[in-house]
């Protein structure tokens, strides 16, 4: 198992190298550059701006310099924000995105698992239809719609929370709800299916025949297998939550990494584009490793030795 984990982690390195290389050349292929501005800049000043940013070197040389710095963990300067290195930007923004993602995920898991299990206890009853109807609604509502709705009700009408910003713990509530709802809906459906599937299996019938209480069977015997479909969805879900936070960060004006990611593309902030892309890359790969390992631990059919 340990060998497997180490192997997977080592595998990240070539992936990141390829990612960095492709991004490096792709952003330069895009028309427009960080130095384009609305008002004309004299050729002399433009030359100086380019020299300052190291653009006077030929492209392959720039690539080598970038890679050399990258090996030392230096993502270079931002071409938009004078005085801000990409490392600094990520250091301030990444924790915010992780907090938001984690809160959203925890909320999605609690609500999703709860709702799914609740529905599975009495399938095809009002209870089931009610919870699944609710989850259908959640799946259908995009976050750029839930967000403003929550704002309208809880921030503007009731004034319980702020509309935007990231100053106190209260500012985390609405964005987390917005981010997590759609995944809570997915989770609830997967958990319901997982449980119903397990509850029809022979070992459950045996447990029933032995006279165990329904509660014990449900929470102990069925739970381990019942959550499996949902667990395997955990990886893609976390990945989607991370990318979904791009929208939520913009809607709620949260100083996370998503805003840098989006803005850097518009600003042709080359360093920031590559830096944020790499961060997302690392997070997604790591998450997949974690999920694969968790899956192996839960499912006796899967082994990686």
């Amino acid at each position: 198992m340990l060998k497997y984990i180490i192997g997977r982690l080592l595998g990240i390195i070539p992936v990141l190298w390829v990612l960095a290389t492709i991004t490096f050349f792709l952003v330069r292929l895009a028309p427009g550059s960080p130095f384009d501005s609305e008002k004309a800049v004299s050729p002399e000043i433009l030359a100086h701006l380019k020299a300052k940013a190291g653009f006077d070197e030929p492209l392959p040389m720039q690539y080598l310099i970038y890679m050399k710095n990258l090996l030392q963990g230096d993502l270079g300067p931002s071409f938009r924000y004078t005085n801000l290195s990409v490392n600094e930007a990520i250091a301030t923004a990444l924790p915010v995105t992780m907090q938001l993602g984690l809160c959203g995920l925890i909320y999605a898991i609690i609500l999703g698992f709860g709702l799914g299990m609740f529905a599975a206890t009495k399938p095809n009853t009002l209870r089931d239809y009610g919870s699944m109807g609710f989850s259908l609604l959640g799946v259908c509502m995009p976050s750029f719609m839930i967000g403003p709705l929550l704002m309208l009700l809880f921030a503007i009408k009731l004034r319980w929370f702020n509309v935007s910003g990231w100053e106190t713990w209260k500012d985390m509530v609405l964005p987390s709800l917005t981010l997590g709802t759609i995944f809570a809906a997915y989770f609830s459906r997967l958990v319901r299916v997982g449980f119903l599937d397990i509850l029809n299996q022979d070992f459950i019938k045996t447990a029933k025949a032995k006279g165990l209480s329904a509660r014990r069977i449900f929470l102990l015997h069925a739970a381990k297998g019942g959550v499996l479909p949902a667990v395997s969805f955990l990886g893609p879900a976390t990945a989607s939550i991370l990318s979904g936070s791009l929208v939520v960060e913009t809607v709620f004006n949260i100083p996370g990494i998503g805003r840098f990611f989006i803005q850097s593309a518009f600003n042709r902030d080359y360093g920031m584009i590559i830096g944020t892309t790499l961060v997302y890359g690392v997070m997604l790969i790591l998450l997949n490793v974690v999920v694969d390992v968790a899956y192996a631990l839960l499912n006796p059919k899967v082994r990686y030795d």
Binding site: A30, P31, G32, S33, D36, S37, E38, K39, A40, V41, S42, E44, I45, H48, L49, K52, R80, Y81, T82, N83, L84, A89, T92, A93, P148, M151, L152, A155, I156, R159, N162, V163, S164, G165, W166, E167, T250, V251, F252, N253, P255, R259, F260, Q263, F266, N267, R268
Partner: protein
Amino acid sequence: MGKKLNALACTLVRTFLLGLLTAVALMLLPLQLQAEAVKQIIRIGNGTEPRELDPILSTGVPESHIEDNIFEGLCSRDPLTEKTIPGAAESWEISEDGLTYTFKLRKNLKWSDGVKLTAHDFVYSWRLALDPKTASEYAYQLYYIKNGEAFNKKKITDNTKIGVVAQDDRTLVVTLERPTPYFLDIVAFHTLYPVPKHVIAKHKEKWTKEGNIVGNGAFKLVEWRLNQHIKLVPNEHYWDKDKVKIQEAYFLPIEKAETEEKSFAAGQLDMTATLPTVKIATYMRDKQKNPKTSPFRRSAMFGTYYYQFNTKAKPLDNKLVRQALSLTVDRTLIAEKVARGGQIPAWSFVPPIEGKYQPKKYLNTSVSKADIAKAKALLKKAGFPDGKGMPKIELLYNTSEGHKKIALAIQQMWKKHLGVQIKLLNQEWKVYLNTTRSGKFQISRRGWIGDYLDPNTFMDLHVEGGGNNEIGFAHPEHDKYIKLAAAESNNKKRMDYFHKAEAILLDEAVVMPIYYYVSNRLVSPKVKLVDNKGKLHPWRGNLFDRLPLKHYVMTK
């Protein structure tokens, strides 16, 4: 008897209770008044995160909103009268030929860290701004100064030849290339603000970071949270610190206009940077009903929204085609029904400047039958009767819902009135900048906001070979008038030259002005402006969209 006693008891109890209530209320009253003492805190929506706060390097509006408060030039602008007023300089003398400005600095000027500020600081700052190594994009704002352009373009290397000299600690002598009647406006612009030599020497390019940054304005920066807020508090070393009322100011980078408007509605902001177009009608209706409490504020800006025709591209190289196209655009319809933000339909390229420059009515703001007939005749004369045989025309704009609506409307107008079919093309901002800069377009959208309050900031755009002349316009007579105006010190004559140049520009129809910009924003009625005599005025905007918090106060 019993009944009567009962009634009496009731009355007594009632009176007692009433008295008690009154007493409690009276006791509470001062408490409540105390609690309602107005906090001098203002929260301002400021668009995007500032790129930097070095006034020499910055180019954007969000940056200037903060820099205008933490730095101060020799002059500054009064938000109420729109006049240039003394800033770090208390007075100045202008030589008769208009070439030499002698500024007298205020006594005991200090940086926000308590270090003395002298005329030498201005010399240092202006030399730094012009230094080619600094690579300031706005260095051209100092080209009015003798040898400024030459030094910036490396034609000379000795920075002591630049026309700015400190005669003593309080006297700054500035020599200009040519008379520049709006030079006092220029020294109120952020590229000419002083920067602290002692701080830059210590922190190098990191000098504007939180904890390092030192300025000479009414406020100082104490917190800079990336993508969260920038916090300013009064600068205790400021020469006019007694005038400053605001105790804490927060600038919040809120990019989405919808989020900003909701933040304002939830009481999180006292002032927004913009207002989503779809909300404008609602706020305007509210303003008509409750003029006193409505937060809606609209103010004119010194800017024009226009289309430009590439004179190097067929069929727009033909003046008649350009004239026909410009004639058949209903500017009133676009402003009122399409843009819908209270914009003013344009009749000239330079927006009118009150008391200084009143442009003639070069363009009709709506389309009459006569206009259409005239345009059709022009088109026929150009060899394209009813648009037949016209080469393909593409209209380029940067991707945005607002620009798209206007482009669609104009596409329809030309089709309906002239039978001319055009294609619309949108490009994302940086791509669009690249395309227009390299002249690879036929018609493109453009906007221009003046740098200073003088027609020159618009009129020098289309001089042959100019960096902003993207349409390849070359007209010796037009250029001649611009040059004459630059050398003229008599204001009336200068304006006459501009009138003549503008008449050529619009007769050639190389630009097609559509509307003059306005700014719409929400401002809490609590925010008031204080004038010189201490009188309060409701908040109102100004032409250059400046927010000098020194003149602000929060009321109940």
